[in-house]
């Protein structure tokens, strides 16, 4: 069959060749190796920085920092799909012919060089033996065909015809998976959103394309829960979500790792979490002088608060859960002296001032913006800053997924048909000889010759037993 292409044009022959298949499979494998050795996407930035500019530029122009989405990688995959379709189309007529073929029962060729253990002698009247054989074989293969010629009886039976189509199933499954991935990338999206506890969002950030996307509804995170085992390992992350349509809650569900939540065809996956500063802080304010006075105040961001002793007022203008990612909780306050002409003074207050002192020289900390005593006679201390969790949700829509799962199912079914079933044909010949009827059994198989031999052994043994049992019955 693989020579069929010889009569056609060379391009078709090339497209249909298994050599092309193997070449493409190996090329895809090699490309994928490169893709795993060079960090992709997010990791690529750091990696590219460690290379010389020329190398980085070369790798970038080849698309090696996002290789799996480059045109050339997709071209390889498309080429494989084309090759697979061509091969299947090319082989279809041949397979169909094999499928429809109905060999003559009275062929002699299968019995050429038959090993002796594939024959046995059945005693008894000829037509009785023939009848018993027909009944027995009919039971085994369902439909059998028989022929009598020159005093010999021939039977033909077969099984596993459908096995010829196993590889079509596998090829089809690959196309389903590829189709699923195309549908997914054309009409799906991958996005991301962080929601602070108690707050709600109506849009998400897209991953591959820049920009945000409106959801068409709102999602609120009512609560984020972070459980740990006694040894400190994380045990469970859970976001309690409420979905709202025009401000009206319509659906509540919990998103956990491994248990995403779906709403209006969009899936929300528990992906990460973090903390942000809330809008409440507790400050301790010391006033030097006699007597020394200490006041503790609960303040809300943006609210002007009078200073103790009428020295003016102040407000918290910014909060940071972790200043610069290492200096811990901090707030910035703006202080307004009683005499307005003095303007405002902005000071950053840190909860763990020691972290600051460890990292920066003392002169620097005397700068007004960092000095808690910059507005005498007051010294400000940040006692506590409210912190809130936010939940990081991956937000996806992928309409290609059902196609992919169908493909996966077909692939496994196709493998089972292709690898574990075979098209087997059997010929049985019964010849009247001296002392009874000699029965010869032979067969061919589309694959797994060892399995065929085993089946023929079984067949001969079971027929022989059957006839011997009959003999014993007749004798008694």
């Amino acid at each position: 069959m693989k020579n069929q292409s010889k009569q056609g044009n060379p391009i078709w022959g090339f497209l249909c060749s298994v050599r092309l298949t193997i070449t493409l499979l190996i090329l895809l494998a090699l490309a994928s190796i490169v893709g795993t050795l060079i960090p992709q996407k997010e990791g690529a930035v750091e990696f590219a920085g460690s290379l010389s500019p020329e190398t980085a530029k070369l790798l970038f122009s080849l698309g090696l920092f996002d290789m799996y989405h480059t045109l050339w990688f997709r071209f390889l995959v498309a080429f494989l799909a084309l090759n697979l379709i061509s091969c299947s189309v090319n082989r279809l007529p041949g397979t169909w012919r094999l499928f429809k073929a109905s060999p003559r029962p009275h062929r002699e060729k299968p019995f050429k060089d038959l090993p002796p253990d594939r024959s046995f002698l059945a005693s008894g009247a000829q037509n009785e033996v023939f009848g018993a054989l027909e009944e027995r074989l009919g039971k085994r293969w369902g439909r059998i065909r028989k022929k009598e010629t020159q005093g010999r009886y021939y039977f033909y039976g077969e099984k596993g015809r459908f096995s010829l189509f196993g590889f079509y199933l596998v090829h089809l499954s690959v196309l389903f998976i590829l189709a699923g991935s195309i549908v997914g990338s054309l009409s799906g999206f991958e996005g991301f959103v962080n929601i602070v506890e108690g707050e709600q969002v109506d849009s998400i950030a897209l991953r591959n394309r820049m920009g945000r996307m409106e959801l068409g509804f709102e999602v609120r995170c009512d609560d984020f829960e972070h459980k740990t085992y006694p040894n400190g390992m994380p045990s469970q992350y859970r976001s309690r979500l409420t979905f709202l349509e025009n401000g009206v809650p319509v659906y509540k569900a919990d998103a956990l790792v491994n248990h995403p939540v779906q709403y209006r065809g969009i899936t929300f996956y528990q992906s990460s979490y973090g903390t942000v500063a809330g809008d409440r802080a507790r400050l301790r304010i010391e006033r030097t002088g006699s007597p020394k006075e200490t006041t503790i105040l609960e303040v809300k961001v943006g609210e002007a608060v009078p200073l103790p002793g009428k020295g003016g007022n102040f407000k918290v203008i910014r909060t940071e859960a972790d200043f610069r990612g290492m200096l811990g909780p901090a707030v910035q306050i703006a202080v307004y002296p009683a005499e307005e002409k003095d303007g405002e003074l902005r000071i950053w207050l840190f909860k763990n001032r020691r972290l600051l002192q460890e990292r920066f020289p003392p002169q620097m900390l005397k700068a007004k913006a960092l000095n808690p005593s910059a507005f005498p006679p007051y010294t400000f201390h940040l006692e506590a800053l409210e912190s809130k969790h936010y939940t990081g949700l991956q937000v996806n829509r992928d309409p290609g997924v059902p196609l992919v799962w169908t493909g996966c199912f077909l692939m496994v079914a196709g493998f089972i048909v292709t690898f574990f079933t075979s098209h087997r044909r059997f010929w049985v010949r019964a010849v009247a000889v001296q002392g009874g009827v000699r029965v010869d059994v032979s067969g061919t198989s589309s694959k797994n010759p060892v399995g065929l031999e085993r089946e023929l052994d079984h067949l001969v043994a079971s027929l022989r037993d059957k006839f011997q049992a009959r003999e014993r019955k007749n004798a008694s």
């Binding site: 895809l28 494998a29 491994n258 060892v450």
Partner: protein
């Protein structure tokens, strides 16, 4: 307790290997029979220890199947290799593959039990691993790896058998099965491995779809399992369609197993999502 039993089993498999080897070198079937018995005792104890570890994890209060880190996966890998090998030995009535297969199980056990980088304590499951797919994914993948391991052993045997040529009857090579049988067995192992790897990748994608939000993320382990899949797919195409046999298939199977090993271990040196399988 379980990890102590498991570290002793390392030596049991080493003795199976020794007995199989002595059988082949000295040509005494009795030694081989002893090898089979030792291996059978080994896997019985091995099964018991895995079950015990499972039970112990419940006693610690966070019960889960013992498939959650590199230590447990190595233990299971070794178990699947021995199980598949014993089935093959029983079906083919030939013990020589034991010489080439038991070292894989022994090495996996030794690595798990004696490497200082590998923690044998039972750890609770991190949230990402808390899924019903854990068991199916790990079982299918590791039966796949084990079948490819056997295919690797059979390919080595094939290459050794090729050296035989004229001087029949003298060297130990004569005890190896015929080239035709080795080739056929190798093919069968590749088929089993390929089916299992496919199931492993599929269960992995179904899982990833619910855990990471995408059925395919080009994570290095995913990608390397695809590379392995592509290599074995070309083995099967070249054999089934182009009719390749023997040496070329053996060489390709060895390359395939190298990919399996990289998928299993090498990927740990690349950044990715499968980080819990590292230690």
């Amino acid at each position: 307790m379980n990890s102590m039993i498991l570290s002793y089993i390392t030596f049991v498999y080493f003795f199976s290997f020794l007995f199989y080897l002595l059988m082949m070198v000295m040509g005494k079937e009795t030694l081989g029979r002893a090898g089979t018995w030792i291996t059978a005792i080994g896997i019985a104890a091995h099964t018991f220890a895995i079950a015990l570890r499972w039970v112990e994890s419940y006693r610690l209060g966070f019960g889960h199947a013992p498939f959650s880190n590199l230590y447990e996966s190595l233990i299971f890998f070794s178990w699947t290799i021995i199980l598949l090998y014993l089935i093959m030995e029983w079906r083919t009535k030939n013990r020589t593959p034991g010489v080439f297969v038991t070292p894989l199980a022994f090495l996996a056990m030794a690595y798990a039990s004696f490497s200082p980088d590998i923690k044998s304590q039972i750890q609770p499951l991190v949230p990402a691993l808390k899924s019903n797919w854990l068991i199916t994914h790990v079982i299918t993948c590791f039966f796949g790896y084990a079948a490819f391991g056997l295919s690797f052993g059979l390919s080595l045997m094939y290459m050794i058998k090729r050296l035989e040529k004229g001087n029949k009857g003298r060297s130990f090579i004569r005890f190896l099965p015929g080239k035709g049988i080795l080739d056929e067995l190798n093919y069968q192992m590749v088929v089993i491995g390929f089916l299992m790897l496919t199931l492993g990748i599929i269960t992995g994608s179904v899982w990833a779809h619910s855990a990471w939000g995408s059925y395919w993320s080009w994570d290095p382990k995913e990608t390397w399992s695809l590379i392995t899949w592509l290599v074995y797919a070309s083995v099967l195409h070249s054999r089934m369609v182009r009719g390749w046999r023997g040496k070329r298939i053996a060489v390709l199977s060895v390359i395939g197993f190298a990919c399996v090993l990289f998928t299993y271990f090498g990927v740990n040196y690349l950044a990715g999502l499968h980080s819990y399988a590292k230690t």
